[in-house]
């Protein structure tokens, strides 16, 4: 293992690997440390969705710029990431949600997203399998450029491209401590040796809180156990991701025809719990049947759990801290995959002292000192 690097990234999920690539592309000497294997954490367990329809402008912009990168990513990285832009269909259940949707759509359109509000009949046109009545939907918002990509392929593509540019990814390497001297990061201690470095990026997902503790930073993030399932493959039935903020459900049809989705479990727990629950399975199966009745006929293949790294406002924590060289890249609260391409680019710009494409100051931890505005558009 190397004993020196300019930047050490902790965590080989989508954000760690994407950042490694962006930095390596800029000529930086990068090392990624991963306690397990690539995609072990939230990335490999996520719903794979890419959504731009957010309630806060920060998220919407990050997502929009990420989609622009996703659209050319297969070509740039030389590996097919399985991008499919079938749109996101977000159910609107009542007048209050309609008011919020109208506000969101206005903001989203102002930044150039082709979002519109659609009727129950239009819902059935976009995805005939859906039952607006069962969904309890009076309308929906739809953005055709949203979609999904394969999280494994995307992460491997980034990791592969980063390695080609000289980055090193050390798997099964656990960070034990981070040495700080005169307010600056100095060295990362692992179970396989020490690495001297100027920058440490905390991209450890649900374990970021534990990493931050090593440099004396207390983070408000909470690991929340989330569950998902996948069915057996069936004929291509619909192209969009279907979600509801009220029910918390999301589901889509994957490349080979499987339905993949999740919903908050009746037994949702805070803490590092990894056990899947039957109550989730039952609840999700029931709700899938309500949303898309023909799905009652198919079998569920697998269910699993993963962690959302949840912040008090459901917005990520990005950027510098009061420890010089300790950079945050976490708190994604369930949508780290979809904004990773842009987040990686911005943090690479920050570390390389380039001009940032968009400001990220409002996403630093400083914001929790004042009044916080919560991102409302959260599912799963």
């Amino acid at each position: 293992m190397k004993d020196r690097a300019e930047v050490v990234i902790i965590g080989a999920g989508i954000n760690g690997c994407a950042l490694a690539y962006e930095l390596a592309k800029r000529g930086k000497d990068v090392v990624v440390l991963e306690k397990h294997y690539i995609c072990y954490g939230a990335t490999g367990r996520c719903g794979a969705g890419i959504r731009q329809q957010w309630a806060t402008k920060e998220n919407a912009l990050l997502a929009k710029k990420s989609v622009e990168i996703f659209e050319r990513l297969s070509e740039e990285l030389g590996y097919d990431i399985g991008l499919r832009q079938g749109g996101y269909l977000i159910a609107i259940h009542d007048e209050e949600e309609m008011r919020q949707a109208k506000k969101n759509v206005e903001m989203q359109r102002s930044i150039g997203l082709p979002v519109k509000i659609i009727s129950p009949d239009e819902i059935k046109e976009i995805a005939p399998i859906l039952d607006p009545e069962g969904m309890e939907a009076i309308a929906a918002t739809f953005c055709p450029t949203d979609g999904h990509a394969n999280p494994f392929k995307t992460t491997y593509a980034y990791a592969r491209a980063a390695k080609k540019l000289g980055a090193k990814i050390y798997k099964f390497t656990e960070v034990k401590d981070i040495k700080v001297k005169d307010g600056k990061v100095e060295e990362v201690v692992t179970n396989r040796g020490k690495i001297k470095t100027k920058y440490v990026v905390n991209a450890a997902g649900a374990w970021s809180k534990e990493i931050a503790k090593m440099v004396g930073i207390n983070m408000p993030n909470k690991p929340v156990r989330k569950e998902a399932l996948v069915t057996e493959p069936i004929e291509r039935l619909f192209d969009c991701m279907v979600i509801s903020f009220k029910h918390g459900i999301y589901f889509s049809q994957q490349e080979e025809g499987q339905i993949l989705g999740g919903i908050p479990s009746p037994e949702e727990k805070i803490g590092y719990y990894t056990e899947p629950t039957f109550s989730f399975l039952k609840h999700m199966a029931y709700m899938l049947g309500k949303y898309a009745p023909p799905l009652k006929h198919i079998n569920i293949l697998r269910q699993w759990t993963g962690f959302y790294d949840v912040t008090p406002d459901a917005l990520p924590i990005l950027g510098e801290t009061n420890i010089e060289g300790f950079i945050q890249c976490n708190g994604f609260s369930g949508h780290g995959f979809m904004i990773a391409p842009m987040v990686a680019k911005l943090l690479a710009q920050l570390i390389c002292q380039e001009k940032l494409d968009m400001p990220i100051d409002r996403l630093s931890m400083e914001r929790f000192k004042g009044k916080i505005t919560k991102e409302k558009a959260v599912v799963g």
């Binding site: 399975l281 023909p294 006929h297 269910q303």
Partner: protein
């Protein structure tokens, strides 16, 4: 394709019925599976591979490999090898199109039991018989009948009389089933256990699709006896319909009385391969040859001698290089191996055959036990990934037991003994005054196991068991110390 006369088995076929395959009306008998009925009608291509659309035949024949998925009565992805055919069934190619009909409501039934046993083969049945004297027992199996793989074993067992030596597997299955039925044991057939959940107590979810019932089961202790599945071998054309697991062929031939073909080639000269060769001959099916990669035959000498006397060549130091044919096996290329297991150029032989049986070992079916969180380890001698356990068959997760092939690929005789030990140990806390008696019985079964593993064929399983026990105690010791 149906076997009418057989020297050992008398096929009691059910009522003659009719079903439809892609619109064509065909005959079948009640009590046989859809795959067997199709095969008897000469239909050997059951599905297509997902990505490349290559034809697929059945392989394992016991519901574990999913290469026989078809559309039945409008429902896609049905495992035809374990689903019984019914009058008027409509069987079609699996286009994965969902039916338009409404899905009938299903029932949720809560069950509470002292002991739940998953798998009704020799291990599970033996466990149930022993445990039922002291506790409530629930026995679950996803097949339509009990007996596991015993129901296709037409040969007489070796070993001691106590372990039913000299008796044929099919008869042992019957004896065990009769005993289970005599006792107060709740049996759920056609019911698949789909999940284990730790709720602070052991919790299983099982589904009976035919009766649209979901069972939510709270169990004091669980014995998993889910058996094993056949290994695939890497060679060109190994996915052609006509390349089957040896056990799959036994199921088709010995349980349903359907011939797998006219001329077979067997890969692997262990006991499974040798016995299968003899069973094929009994069913009036020609065996072209047996190929064995090892320099010598792995199975019992008596079996091999019998096969040779019947004129079947056994090529040791050989393996299969390729299976060929247009959408179905028409022949195979076999070749000699050098000491580094590479094919020797120029040693190829072209063997004409219409099916190939792979008898190249089994792997424990650990999917369910893995869900419990019991420690799983790859142990080569045990056949792959196995749950660590102690001498009483209890895993590193308290109250969770394993027995039989799931716990180490071995024989039906040892599976029965392990089942008995697991069944008894699991009920100790339910048996008030009989603890000493139970421990004595356990001791006796352990000694029987020990004797069974003393022979030449006990070497590998014995090494496996010792590793499994050692690793179990290491884990548990570490846990106690930390």
């Amino acid at each position: 394709m149906r076997i009418i006369e057989h020297p050992i088995i008398e096929f009691k076929r059910g009522r003659k019925i009719h079903f439809y395959y892609n619109g064509k009306k065909l005959e079948a008998y009640e009590g046989e599976t859809i795959a067997a009925a199709l095969y008897a009608n000469g239909i050997k291509i059951l599905s297509k591979s997902l990505r490349k659309g290559r034809p697929r035949g059945f392989f394992c024949g016991i519901g574990k490999c999913s290469s026989c998925l078809m559309k039945v009565n409008g429902i896609p992805n049905v495992r035809t090898c374990i689903t019984l055919i019914k009058e008027g069934d409509v069987v079609e190619d699996n286009d994965m199109v969902l039916p338009e009909k409404e899905y009938p409501e299903c029932k949720f039934t809560k069950l509470n039991t002292d002991i739940a046993i998953v798998g009704g083969g020799p291990a599970g049945l033996s466990a149930a018989i022993e445990a039922a004297d002291y506790a409530n027992v629930l026995l679950i199996d996803e097949n339509h009948r009990l007996g596991g793989q015993l129901i296709k074993q037409t040969h007489k067992f070796f070993g001691s009389k106590k372990e039913k030596a000299g008796t044929r597997g099919i008869e042992i299955a019957k004896e065990l089933e009769d005993e289970v039925r005599k006792k107060n044991i709740k049996i759920l057939l056609n019911t698949s256990v789909i999940g284990y959940y730790d709720r602070g107590y052991h919790f299983l979810v099982a589904v009976d699709k035919m009766n649209r019932t979901v069972y939510e089961i709270k169990a004091g202790k669980i014995i998993f006896a889910t058996g094993a599945q056949e290994n695939m071998l890497l060679f060109d054309g190994n996915d052609l319909p006509g390349v089957y697991g040896a056990g799959g062929v036994q199921t088709l031939m010995n349980v349903y009385g359907v011939k797998p073909g006219n001329v077979g080639l067997i890969v692997g000269a262990g006991n499974v391969g040798l016995i299968l060769a003899y069973q094929l001959l009994q069913a009036d099916v020609e065996v072209a040859c047996i190929v064995e990669a090892m320099p010598k035959i792995g199975g019992y000498f008596v079996h091999a001698a019998k096969i040779r006397r019947c004129g079947v060549p056994i090529y040791t130091g050989h393996s299969i290089k390729k299976a060929y044919g247009n959408e179905h096996v028409e022949g195979a290329i076999i070749a000699k191996l050098d000491e580094k297991w590479n094919f020797i150029e120029g040693s190829e032989k072209d063997i004409k055959c219409d099916f190939i049986c792979l008898a190249v070992g089994l792997s424990p079916t650990i999917r369910l036990i893995a869900q419990t969180g019991a420690d799983i380890l790859f142990i080569n001698e045990a056949g792959g990934w196995v749950a660590l356990h102690n001498e009483y068959m209890e895993t590193t997760k308290p109250g969770i037991y394993v027995a039989g092939d799931l716990a180490n690929i071995e024989e039906a005789s040892t599976a029965m003994l392990e089942g008995k030990i697991a069944g008894l140990h699991a009920v100790i806390e339910f048996a008030k005054n009989d603890k000493t008696k139970i421990m004595e019985k356990i001791k006796e079964y352990m000694e029987d196991l020990e004797i069974f593993r003393q022979g030449y064929f006990g070497i590998r399983p014995k090494i496996a068991k010792e590793k499994i026990w050692r690793k179990y105690h290491e884990k548990m010791g570490n846990r106690r110390n930390s």
